[in-house]
Structure formats: C-alpha cells, structure tokens
C-alpha cells in the first residue's frame, strides 16, 4: 500500500503542491491582514468589484475569439489581440467625426450602434483575412507552425496599423449620456460600468445562442468534434471555419467598444495586454468552452481588480497595483499546473 503510494507521488508533485500551498497561505494571510487593518471600507470593495466585473466582461468577449477558434482548429490565434485592436482603432475616426458634428450627443444610441458596427465589421474582416491568408495554407502543417505564424501575424498587424493610423494615442469623445452615476446604498455605480457589464452579458448570450441553437452553430460543434466526419456529413468545413473567425472577430470588435467606454484611449499597441489577459481567461475557464470563457474572464477581472488591494496590501507589498498583471499570469501558471483543462474543461469539444 505504502509502496504504491510512494511510486505514484513523484518529487515534482510534492514541489507543485508546496507551491500551491505557499500561494494559498500568502493569499489567505494577505486577505486577513488587509481586512483586519480596516483600511478600506465596504464601499471601496464594492466599487472595485463592479470595476472588476466590467473589466471581466471585456475579457470575456475577447476570450470568445480564442476559445471558438481553439474549439474548431485546436490552435491558439495569438493575433487575436490585434483583431481586437483593429476595430476600435478604426472606429475612432467615425466617433471623432460624429463628436465634432454634434450628432454623437444628439443621437447617442444611433451613434454608438454605428460605431460598434464599424468596429465589429473591421475586426471580423481582419480575422477572416487572417484565416484566409495566414492560417488556411498551414491547416495541415504541424501544430507549432500556425502558432508561430500567429505571433508573426500579430506583429505584422500591429505595425500595419501603426503605419496606417500613426503611433500616437487617439481619444474617443466622451459620450454625454454615459457621464454620471447612480447611487445605491451609498455606493456610486457609474453608468459606463453598468453599460459595459450589461453589454457584455447580452453579447455573450447572443454568442452562446448562435453556437447552441443555430444551424451554423450546430455545424461548428460538429466540426469541432470531428472534422473529417463533419465533412463526410456534407458540412462545408471551410465555411464553418471562416464563420468561426468572423464570429470571434466581431465579438472582439464589440469588446473593443466596451473597452473604450471604460478606457477611451486607443493606440496600435492597445491589444497586447488585454489579449493576453483574455487568453488567460479562456484557459482559466477551459479553452474551447463558451460558458467557461465567460466564467474565467469574470474571475480574472475580479481578481485583478480586487487582488492587489486585498491580497498584497496587507502583506506590506510596495506599489501592489504594479503587480496587477503578475496576479493574472500567476493564475495562468497555477491553472496550467493544477487543472490544465480549466474550470469547466473542454465541454464544447467533449460533448457527444
């Protein structure tokens, strides 16, 4: 009995569990000492939580692009950060023109719909072109090849947009309808955050609906399960893949618009960090799984927003906010060590 136990548990397992335990102790200890110090009020925590959920909503929509493409092609589209950047970076010109003519303030709803449509269209187009030009010729190549291609495509797109629109920052005009807040039990809830959380949930439901209940969604799930069999059943696999990239791109374009509602400044490099975070969220939730991406993104947004103050402040860490990204990527490493299939596993692909 003891012998088999010894054989099964390797030194790596022990080290890994020790790391996990150490991090758990740090988190619990930091949380307790922060809460004991009473530095932050309940209002602050609620404010950070809402901001975290808004951020999580944005990550969720970007993560959709990673997760859908992974579900079908089993590849990580690392150029997805740039798909995300291309939409809002293009739509800023429309937004500025509408802002200058005064139309934006007179008809905020129509304007925002137009801006979102431009952003989603551009992102979807870039994603489809990316698939057609960079990935399709490599579909039967070893898996590492499209991965490296994706990284190259990412740089290519970044610098193409830098060449097109310049390397400086551009700011979206402020939408008068979104200025202000509602007061709820003494806590200010900003309209922008409500719009972002609400927008993200609606978009996620629409995407989930498309995957679950439309004919194309059914085809996507079939291709994801077995490409050859789907082809034999008369499914046009190329069309399904193009649709998947388009859907992921449109979702990234929508994420871009929600992102600029929160952080209204765009530049050619804006996609890099949100893209990595969304990738982390997709892995956290279980890559290939639509509800998983949403869950992972919300958890990540929340931990990132609340984490520096909750875990690190109490430990006396200097400038905890600089470690925001570190928290996100430590989560990625931990997930890959302890539960590589993510929280919800690969339900989309495993479903019979």
């Amino acid at each position: 009995m003891l012998r088999t136990w010894r054989q099964r548990v390797t030194i790596t397992d022990i080290v890994v569990w020790a790391i996990g335990l150490a991090i758990a102790v740090i988190v619990v200890w930091g949380t307790i000492s922060t809460l004991q110090s009473g530095k932050y009020t309940g209002g602050t925590w609620l404010d950070l939580t809402i901001k975290g959920l808004a951020l999580g909503g944005v990550y969720a929509l970007i993560a959709m692009g990673y997760t859908l493409v992974y579900g079908i092609l089993r590849m990580i589209n690392f150029a997805h950060s740039e798909v995300f950047m291309s939409g809002p970076f293009t739509a800023v010109f429309l937004a500025l023109a509408l802002g200058q003519s005064g139309y934006l303030d007179q008809h905020p709803l129509i304007s925002m719909t137009l801006i979102s449509l431009v952003s989603m269209t551009v992102s979807a187009l870039i994603a489809i072109l990316l698939e057609r030009i960079a990935y399709r010729p490599l579909r039967n190549a070893p898996r590492l090849v499209p991965l490296i291609t994706a990284i190259g495509a990412s740089f290519f797109l970044q610098y193409v947009f830098r060449g097109l629109y310049g390397s400086g920052v551009r700011a979206y005009p402020t939408l008068a309808a979104l200025i202000g807040f509602w007061e709820l039990a003494g806590v200010r809830i900003y309209k922008t955050q409500v719009v972002v959380i609400f927008g993200a949930i609606v978009m996620m439901l629409v995407l989930y609906g498309i995957v679950q209940w439309t004919k194309m969604g059914k085809a996507m799930r079939a291709v994801s399960e077995d490409k050859e069999a789907a082809e034999l059943m008369g499914i046009d696999v190329d069309r399904v893949i193009v649709f998947t990239f388009g859907l992921g791109g449109a979702s990234a374009g929508a994420a871009g618009i929600l992102y600029i509602i929160l952080f209204p400044v765009v530049n050619f490099f804006m996609g890099f960090i949100p893209g990595l975070k969304a990738f982390t969220a997709a892995v956290l939730g279980g890559i290939g799984n639509v509800p998983g991406a949403f869950l992972g993104a919300m958890i990540l947004g929340l931990l990132e927003s609340v984490g520096p103050n909750l875990f690190l402040d109490g430990l006396g860490v200097i400038n905890p906010s600089q470690l925001k990204d570190a928290i996100a990527f430590i989560i990625l490493v931990l997930i890959l060590i302890f539960r590589p299939s993510g929280i919800l596993g690969e339900r989309l692909t495993d479903k019979a």
Binding site: R188, Q322, K324
Partner: protein
C-alpha cells in the same frame, strides 16, 4: 500534447514580459578606437580620439529623441528646434554642411538602448542631441559616452544624470534642460503656498524621471510642513488605475502629484474623477504631461489639471516661435524646442572652438577637447536664458512656471508666478 504547448508557451510569454520589464542596464564600455588614420599633417593627441571630417564631408550631428509613439510630440518638438537652429546658422559648421539624422528612443530604456547601440557604431558622429526622457538616457548615455560622443540633452531632467558619483552620471553628458531638484521644489512650493494644500499623494511609473521628481516633491513638501499620505507607483502601460486610486483614496489627500507620461497619466486624470473619495482632489503633473496629446487623452476631465513646466519668454524666444510657426505651420507642440535649439548651439560653439582645419578644409576634432569645450561653456546667450555649464553637465538657467489645463484648449494657461 496541446496542454504542454500551452504551458511552455505561457511560460515563454511570462519570461518575455519579465525580460522586457527589467531591460538590463548596459555596462559602460570603454571608448573604442574611432579615428581613421590621421593624415600626416595632423597628429591626434586626444585621449579618446579624434573625428576627421574630409574636405567635402559633412559634420555629422545625430539626435536620439522620442519621435514615435504616445510621447512623440516631446521629441519631434525638440527636433524641430534643432532644425531651426541649423537653418539659423546657414546649415554649416566651419564651412562644412551639417548632416543631421538620428534614431527614435521611444521614451523608454529598451528602445533607448537599441537606438544608443545603433548610433554608437557610427564613428562619423561628432555630437548627439538627446535623449528626450531620462529612462532613455540611463540606457543610451553609457553607450554614447563610451563611443566618445559629446551628448547634450534638451529634456532630461532626472537629478541622477548630472550628480557626481552617481552610477547614471557619465562623462561627456550635458543638458540644457532644468534639473528636477529645481522643478520638484517649485512644484511643492506652488502646491503648498499657492494652492494651499496640506496633504498630497504621489504616483510614479518606475521611470527615472518620475521616481526622482516625486521624491524631490515629497521631500520639499514635507519640509514646508505638508503631509505625504502615500507614495506609490503604476506601470507605464497600465490602463486600469482603480486599485492604486482606491489605495490613495484611503489617505484622503487634497492633491495627487503624478509627474509621469502618457498614456498612463491620461488614465489617472480620467479615473480619479470616478474614484470614491477623489472626485474633488486636485491633480498635478509635470513637464512630461505638457503636451496637446494630454488634452485629447484626458478629454473634458483635463479641466483644472495642473502641470509645472519651464517658463520661456523674451524677445529672442518670441522671434524663434515666429520662425517655428512659419516653418511648421503651428505653435510649438511641446516644451523643449528652445532647449534643443540651445543644445545645438552649444555643440556648434564647442566644435568651432576646438576643430583644427587643414589647408584643404579637412577638420580634425578631438573628442575629449570637444567635451572640455562644452563643459566650459559660459555666459552663452541662449533662448532659454544665459547658460553656463558646470563641471557636472548642468547648463540650464531655469524659470519654472505652473500651468492649468482647460478642456479643449492648448496650451494650458500660465497661472503662477503671476
């Protein structure tokens, strides 16, 4: 299989982020030999070598400024100032045409080091005007200094760079910009006396400039009797400032001083207004946030934002601005155009002082002699005042003013001294 690839890939990503975050500080290399074989008539006795400019060759002056990216106006503005200086002097030094080109330093250590490496390989360069940002300087100046160049910065303000004995202080480096020991003190005085705030928090972004400036500000503010409630930092590429602002809000400061750059500075201006407890806190930055891009990055929230910046005036300066507008079709887009103009003039004067001219027009410039000449610059009548360089490389004669932004307007309004 795929899990493994994912795992390896994410480790790689993290490693690359870490690497880019802590770009290595290059070791100072000793001056490599940079002279072509000296002609018979002239023997180079300079301790770090000579530059020889052939009869029909140009004198090569390079720039290392931030001319691309979110802070590009800072460097482009300086480059514009240099171009006017070259035009004003007929485009020649000692009857040789001037060759003026350079590299983007990106306002950061990484690109600064890359640009420094590239420039230091070019042995025809006599002098370099740069860098724009102090973080660039920390990475690039060791390389440029090691290559024997004379380096004059129009806009580095971090105290370290001219502090004797400091590891960031290199021979052959001078600046026409003010030292932040002055700017930080003026900012603290303005906040305490003119704005009447007694409590303040500071934020830096880990850059040499911001870290030192907020430190000087905090020291002076405390000496005057004020209280610093927090000294914290953000990442230069951070967009979400909610956790750092929540932390600062617990100390309820009357003013937040964040002498950083774009885009982070713009995000702090916007998000402070929506952080509970900071809605009415005064916000103040420094010359790094004196740019038309601040008005666009912060939108209407820029209203009331204070910055400190050099105060330029005088007949010569007004004449320069008129030339600037005629040449570039707009008002100066940032603040260090006149400093760059003066930097070029100091380099030119030093070359004229030490160059040995052969009968056929060949110029021989001793690199150490050139540096000595620049350090001994005295009573130089520049656009930014009467400049006298000290042995550490500080040449400026600064007057610092405080300005206030108004929504949709640029430049910000000068409000102090009245």
């Amino acid at each position: 299989m795929s899990k493994r690839i994912l795992f390896v890939l994410s480790l790689l990503l993290i490693a690359s982020m870490l690497l880019s975050a802590c770009a290595p500080q290059p070791a100072a290399t000793e001056a490599p030999a940079m002279t072509e074989a000296p002609p018979a008539a002239f023997e180079c006795t300079d301790t770090i070598g000579c530059v020889t400019v052939g009869p029909s060759d140009p004198v090569h002056i390079a720039y290392l400024l931030v001319v691309a990216g979110p802070n590009e106006t800072l460097g482009i503005d300086s480059r514009n100032g240099i171009e006017i200086a070259i035009e004003d002097t007929g485009g020649t030094i000692l009857d040789h045409p001037v060759k003026f080109d350079g590299e983007d330093g990106g306002c950061d250590a990484g690109p600064g080091q890359a640009a420094g490496t590239k420039l230091s390989a070019d042995t025809t360069i006599v002098g370099v005007i740069g860098t724009s940002c102090s973080s660039e300087a920390r990475a690039a100046v060791p390389l440029l200094s090691g290559a024997g160049f004379l380096v004059v910065s129009p806009s580095n303000t971090a105290p370290d760079l001219t502090e004797p004995g400091n590891p960031n202080h290199y021979p052959g480096y001078l600046r026409t910009a003010h030292n932040d020991t002055i700017q930080g003190a003026v900012a603290a005085k303005f906040a305490f006396e003119e704005l009447g705030v007694k409590t303040a928090a500071t934020i830096h972004d880990g850059s040499l400039y911001a870290d030192k400036l907020q430190q000087v500000f905090a020291e002076n503010f405390i000496t005057m009797g004020g209280t610093i409630t927090a000294q914290t930092a953000v990442d230069p590429n951070q967009t979400d400032m909610s956790s750092v602002l929540a932390d600062i809000a617990t100390g309820t400061p009357e003013l937040i001083y964040f002498p950083i750059f774009l885009p982070a500075g713009g995000f702090i201006i916007r998000q402070a207004k929506t952080t509970p407890g900071l809605e009415n806190t005064k916000l103040m930055g420094a010359d790094g946030l004196f740019s038309p891009d601040v008005t666009s990055a912060a939108g209407d929230d820029v209203e009331g934002f204070y910055v400190s910046s050099p105060l330029l005036s005088g007949a010569a300066y007004d004449e320069f601005v008129a030339k600037y507008e005629a040449k570039f079709g707009k008002q100066p887009i940032s603040i260090f155009h006149a400093h760059a103009y003066d930097a070029y003039m100091i380099i030119k004067a030093a070359i004229e002082k030490v160059a040995v001219k052969d009968a056929d027009g060949t110029l021989h410039i001793g690199r150490q002699a050139l540096r000595d000449a620049a350090y001994s610059t005295a009573n130089h009548q520049g656009l930014t005042g009467t400049l006298t360089c000290d042995a550490n490389g500080d040449c400026a004669n600064p007057v610092i003013g405080a300005y206030q932004y108004h929504a949709g307007a640029y430049p910000p309004e000068l409000i102090w001294p009245k």
